[in-house]
């Protein structure tokens, strides 16, 4: 009976959602005639006044920078809630839910890969305004490196205090760069630095600074999540 009701509900929801989207059509421009599309405004602003190559980065960090600050705060809140729900007084080394020990191939291989993964992550978030990627993606790549090490070595540990210092410093950098916008007579998170030349590493004003801070913050938070969950023993 419950299943029947649910399937009926989903059929109604699915039919009307599908009807709406099939009506729009895939790959066709769907905005009001005579109004300049939002995407054209953003793209021309991105390349002409901001000198940033990656339009997604310029929207996330510059045009919608305040939104990203909120997003980073939500991530921080999620990690804090996770930590407070799964809180344990102390972690003993080797006291974790994954009980098997890794073979020597895995340990040697992950020792070899770990620096390369960190380098790739740093590359992705430093070049966030030039190429695909950015702070969130680079941070996740770095956290996967730490996950690999935590799985391969039973007594590999990450200092919780180091993680929280990195996280706090990155958050303060983000908010501080935003506040510096006020001092230059603008608004919060205004782009007050010179924007440089298109496709240069030092271009886009405050965008690389903020994205590097976001990269550090996401890396520290996700490593903290992995560490907390891995040391969770029911």
């Amino acid at each position: 009976m419950k299943k029947f009701v649910v399937i009926l509900l989903l059929a109604v929801v699915g039919y009307y959602t599908a009807d709406t989207f099939f009506g729009i059509g895939f790959g066709s421009p769907h905005f009001v005639d005579g109004v300049k599309a939002v995407k054209d405004v953003y793209i021309t602003q991105t390349v002409q006044s901001l000198k940033v190559s990656n339009a997604v980065t310029s929207i996330v960090v510059n045009f919608r920078g305040f939104d990203t600050l909120g997003e980073v705060t939500v991530l921080f809140l999620a990690v804090t809630v996770l930590g407070s729900i799964l809180y344990k007084k102390r972690h003993r080394v080797g006291d974790r839910s994954v009980l098997f020990s890794a073979s020597s191939v895995v340990t040697a291989g992950s020792k070899l890969l770990f620096p390369a993964i960190l380098l790739l992550g740093a590359y992705v978030f430093i070049h966030g305004h030039l190429s695909p990627g950015g702070g969130f993606q680079g941070g996740v790549i770095i956290a996967t490196g730490f996950l690999l090490m935590l799985l391969a070595y039973e007594n590999f540990s990450v200092g919780h205090s180091v993680l929280s210092v990195v996280e706090s410093l990155a958050g303060i950098t983000f908010a501080g760069v935003g506040l510096l916008g006020f001092m230059n007579g603008g608004t919060f998170l205004q782009n007050f630095l010179p924007t440089g030349i298109l496709n240069d590493l030092f271009s886009g004003g405050i965008i690389p600074i903020i994205y590097i801070a976001v990269g550090f913050k996401v890396a520290a938070e996700l490593t903290g999540v992995i560490y907390t969950v891995l040391h969770e023993k029911g």
Partner: protein, 124 residues
């Protein structure tokens, strides 16, 4: 030929995204195991993200990144706004999944089961 390909994609891409959403919702509403409910929620997330990204596509568009070859043709790019929104949505989805899994771990530790029928005060 090109047009018929696109009309196929029209139904295929939106259909896949909507189907993913429906599968996830079904799992979240019907399944008894708490882990399967969390998996269902995360499938709904994936379907929604796919739907929003697909909405920004233009016929023959490229990625919204100014490589030197595309400096002269900014209008050929797909809409970057949905992509930026989905970047936010993915991160929020991660937060939701993490908190939900932490709650599931605590419930399992307290009740010793993942079945919502046996956890008496969780029935709908």
């Amino acid at each position: 030929m090109n047009d018929s390909l696109f009309s196929l994609l029209d139904y295929g891409v939106y259909g896949t995204a909507i189907l993913l959403m429906l599968i996830g919702l079904y799992g979240a509403l019907v399944k008894k195991s708490l882990l399967k409910i969390v998996i269902g929620l995360s499938i709904v997330d994936s379907g929604l993200n796919l739907l929003i990204v697909t909405l920004g596509y233009y016929k023959g568009g490229t990625a919204p990144i100014f490589s030197p070859a595309y400096l002269k043709h900014p209008t050929l790019m797909v809409d970057p706004v949905p992509q930026a929104l989905v970047l936010t949505a993915i991160v929020i989805g991660f937060g939701v999944t993490a908190v939900a899994l932490a709650l599931v771990i605590r419930l399992y530790r307290h009740h010793g089961t993942l079945n919502i029928d046996e956890i008496k005060n969780l029935k709908w």
